[in-house]
């Protein structure tokens, strides 16, 4: 009993016939082919599949694809403007906020929501804001730093200017 579902992901319209039980995360990965949204746990604990649905950050394994009918979805692939990284992406890279990188897309999507709601969070508020996302590599230390840096950059609008990195990559 397949159902037609259509949604906009990163500005592109996607229309597919799907099983009603299909989770949104599988739809994004398998049908839309956007594999930057990751699956780390299957039980909604890890947050690697976090995306934005109509402006709210959501673990995409907690939603059926059919529930996202008509929705505007942003995934990690939708954040950078061409070669220009979103300030949060830039800060995760600059501050060594990732190692294996598997949790990173979900972390960045959760951080984006946090900074939209609270542009100048304290360290404590950052920790509370992304407690639903697990990282196994970093001990979270540099993730906190990255979000602090992004918050400063976004507050001054400096993200729009080409920021000279401290060192080459």
């Amino acid at each position: 009993m397949r159902r037609k579902v259509s949604m906009t992901i990163n500005g592109t319209q996607y229309e597919h016939e799907v099983e009603p039980r299909l989770l949104l995360v599988y739809h994004i990965r398998e049908n839309a082919g956007l594999t930057g949204t990751h699956i780390g746990c299957d039980t909604s604990n890890c947050g690697a599949c976090t995306v934005e649905i109509d402006g709210h950050s959501v673990k995409s394994c907690t939603v059926f694809a059919v529930q996202a009918e008509g929705a505007q979805i942003t995934t990690i692939e939708g954040l950078a403007k061409g070669n220009e990284l979103h300030p949060i992406q830039q800060a995760f890279w600059d501050e060594h906020g990732l190692q294996c990188g598997y949790c990173t897309p979900g972390m960045i999507m959760a951080a984006k929501q946090l900074l939209e709601r609270n542009p100048n969070p304290s360290e404590r508020e950052i920790r509370l804001g992304i407690e639903g996302n697990l990282c196994r590599c970093t001990g979270y230390h540099n993730i906190v730093k990255a979000i602090q840096t992004a918050s400063k950059v976004m507050a001054t609008g400096a993200g729009k200017e080409a920021k000279a990195p401290a060192t080459v990559s």
């Binding site: 930057g36 990690i76 060594h96 990188g101 990173t104 404590r124 407690e131 060192t167």
Partner: protein
């Protein structure tokens, strides 16, 4: 030489990760993201019993299930039926007996994953359940079921006798310590894609730690020559030892060769708990004897590890644990014994720290106990006995490299401690237990604990280890470009960045391109044992120096016209096996670390908040400081996890918590800020003087957290992970009894 000076992004700089951009953009391709036209999905049927004989398997209904292209059993394995890192004793698919709950029995390939899983349910296996042995001491009993039909269940036993093991001392302390089974829990699950090739071979794209050792195990099982089993690295979402052993590798190849279509296998989180080896649970008996002045006289240790159903790396893990059992101290006399046994639990093998973690928890608990018995400051006791360059270890090995143990202790002790915040003024989320806390901090106690520890870098006990690198320097219209190829795996630790930095420094060329690792070049060994900076870093350095020599002959970079290339292999110094008394020269070299934990305990509820972790680490030379700090912080989190929450719970051999809902890894609220200090004393005889850095905070943090909990509660903490019952005094501490066989 002038071009080498001032090159940006060379060694010593906190260069950003070379894979950072694709990873933050979601463009980095992990093994679980791979796909091919016409690709099938594979799934694995696993035994529900820890020990059973397979009477029969009926696959008829599964074969005719919708979308199914193949159903395979052990009889379909064309070559060798078993694999394994040290001993090929693990069936590709079980045919006669299953030895752990979760052992692979059958495979399905189908058009999609759901159809494959549907078909699995239709396979009927008739099991005759056999008595299982699921306790490591019970496994030693003459009446225990013998897992592999040998005279006993012992995987390896060793003893290290040093000085006069019967030497008398003024003061003795003794204890039994236990550590739980920890899961590596990399966020990226086991994944790979096998593609059948026109030559009858197969290409496997897989997330692994060591391509060549996988190839060595896969090819004989497929009955193919090595060159027809080509491995390519798929993006790796963390490893921590979980990808040392094979998981889905042979299975995907078998299905691809049978169906003549690409086959992908990706484990879910639950399957991942069964699909890789874990950190060995250990039971450790220790007696420490010292003189009144606080000098260690004699250390007696017996370490027993649960290897689970198959050998894996249980031998080297118990070898490590036993050889480090006296700690980073000068000990004139010792008897250190270690035994690893088979049980019907999940197989255990490599995890960050590789045996050193368990031993450190035990000997550091003993050092605190001894300090109490001697009425001495615990740090003073450690400093007084600290091992140093020139110390002879219990194995007879002379410590010839850097060993700044005293300095580490001094440095970690003076790092700032966060001020104690009065409980009533606090956000309740900042009390132990967080929002679910029902008290108001009336019974809050703060504790501070220390631990010192060490571990080997690289493989030990005579293992002939090497890494090969190829470097090609050419010029295109943007200038000089160095291309580098190795088979070494960046599992997330940052090796690709280190290699890039080494090339820049050695060749004076800023543009460096790394080729994807595969088995077309020689082995790089595993991304484990904190060895890749030394081994592959060393190989890249040698290859660069060969290129550089030719470049200098041609007149330098300005005159570079024809490409120059070189391939070189790096070997570390030769080590030796231990003799029957545990004497020898087993380890290449060591790194040391000291940790301090500040904790708060609600002593009525048995809940803990870790306020701060501080680590001082001996790194030789930090090639990328930001990356070194990152390793220390991440390793600390896994240590905190083992101390407080991470344990695979087994009842009669069956896993009870195979999910992230029930197996808890530290969240950002569990993890405090980490303060770290690097001690840079270059290691002689090692490229750039750089020591490996990945494992050492994991070695010391669990012991430091346990020490802090003891200080806060006054209770003996003999087992990690610590449970609320232990802290609230509801579970008695382990009373000392004699070790088995004594």
């Amino acid at each position: 030489m002038s071009v080498r000076i001032g090159i940006r992004g060379g060694i010593g700089e906190s260069v950003r990760r070379v894979d950072g951009e694709p990873k933050v953009k979601g463009d980095f391709e992990y093994a679980s993201d791979l796909s091919r036209e016409g690709m099938l999905w594979g799934a694995t049927l696993r035994s529900p019993h820890p020990h059973a004989r397979i009477r029969s398997i009926d696959i008829q209904a599964a074969v005719s299930s919708p979308g199914v292209l193949a159903v395979l059993l052990a009889g379909d394995v064309p070559g060798k039926k078993t694999h394994g890192l040290d001993e090929a004793d693990q069936p590709v698919l079980a045919w006669d007996v299953v030895r752990y709950a979760g052992e692979p029995v059958a495979l399905v390939a189908a058009e999609d994953l759901e159809l494959a899983r549907e078909a699995l349910k239709k396979i009927v296996v008739d099991y005759e359940v056999l008595p299982a042995v699921t306790d490591m001491e019970a496994a030693l009993s003459p009446d225990a079921p013998r897992l592999h039909g040998k005279a006993n269940n012992i995987i390896r036993s060793l003893r290290i006798l040093h000085g006069n093991p019967d030497a008398k001392a003024d003061v003795w302390v003794e204890g039994i310590y236990e550590t739980g089974m920890q899961d590596q829990a990399p966020l990226g699950p086991e994944a790979g894609l096998a593609v059948p090739a026109a030559d009858g071979g197969v290409d496997l794209y897989v997330a692994t730690q060591w391509l060549h050792v996988d190839q060595d195990q896969i090819a004989p099982c497929l009955d193919l020559p090595r060159e027809k089993v080509r491995l390519h690295l798929g993006g790796v979402g963390g490893a921590f030892g979980a990808r040392e052993d094979l998981s889905m590798h042979i299975h995907a190849c078998l299905l691809a060769l049978r169906t003549k279509r690409p086959v992908k296998i990706v484990y879910g989180r639950q399957e991942s708990f069964y699909g890789h080896v874990h950190r060995h649970p250990m039971r450790i008996w220790m007696r420490h004897g010292a003189n009144r002045d606080g000098k260690l006289v004699n250390v007696q240790a017996y370490l027993l590890s649960d290897g689970g159903a198959y050998t894996s790396t249980s031998g080297p893990v118990i070898g490590n644990a036993t050889s480090f059992a006296a700690g980073p101290y000068e000990v004139p006399n010792a008897r250190l014994e270690g035994t690893a046994v088979f049980t019907n639990n999940l197989p255990c093998g490599a995890m960050r720290g590789f045996g050193a973690v368990q031993a450190t928890f035990a000997y550091e608990a003993q050092m605190d106990e001894l300090a109490r018995a001697l009425e001495m400051d615990p740090l003073e006791l450690r400093s007084r006995n600290a091992l140093h360059t020139g110390t002879v270890m219990p194995t007879g090995q002379l410590v010839s490299g850097a060993a700044p143990v005293r300095e580490l202790i001094d440095r970690v002790a003076v790092l700032p401690v966060p001020p104690d915040e009065p409980a009533p003024d606090r956000d309740p989320m900042l009390l132990p237990g967080g929002a679910g806390h029902v008290g108001h901090g009336e019974s809050l106690k703060r504790g501070i604990g220390f631990a010192v520890g060490y571990k080997n870098i690289g493989y030990s006990e005579g293992f002939d280890d090497s890494s090969q690198a190829w470097v090609r320097l050419s010029r295109d219209r943007d200038g000089p470009l160095a291309r580098v190829k190795t088979a070494a795996v960046d599992v997330g630790q940052g090796l690709d960045t280190i290699v890039t930095q080494i090339v820049r420094t050695e060749l004076g060329v800023e543009r460096v391109a790394l080729e994807q690792p595969d088995t077309r070049i020689g082995s790089a060994g595993s991304s484990s044992a904190s060895r890749q900076t030394m081994m592959t870093g060393g190989a890249v350095q040698l290859a660069c120096r060969a290129v550089r020599e030719e470049l200098d002959r041609q007149g330098g970079l300005e005159r570079l016209n024809r490409p120059i290339e070189a391939s070189r292999t790096y070997h570390h110094r030769v080590t030796g096996k231990l003799d029957e008394n545990g004497q020898g020269d087993p380890h290449v070299t060591f790194a040391f670390a000291a940790a301090r934990a500040v904790v708060e305990v609600d002593t009525e509820l048995g809940l803990v908040r870790v306020v701060q972790l501080a680590v001082a680490q001996d790194v030789g030379r930090a090639l990328n400081p930001q990356s070194v700090y990152g390793q220390i912080e991440g390793g600390s989190a896994q240590g905190l996890g083992l101390a407080l929450m991470e344990e695979i719970e087994l009842t009669d051999g069956k896993v009870r918590n195979a999910s992230f809902t029930d197996y808890l890894i530290p969240t950002i609220l569990d993890m405090p800020p980490v303060v770290s200090e690097l001690i840079e004393e270059p290691e002689p005889g090692v490229p750039f003087g750089a020591k490996g850095v990945g494992e050492f905070s994991t070695v010391v943090v669990p012991a430091a957290v346990a020490a802090a909990l003891r200080q806060a509660t006054g209770r003996a903490i003999h087992r990690i992970p610590v449970k609320p019952d232990d802290l609230a005094g509801l579970r008695p501490a382990l009373a000392y009894r004699k070790p088995p066989g004594s």
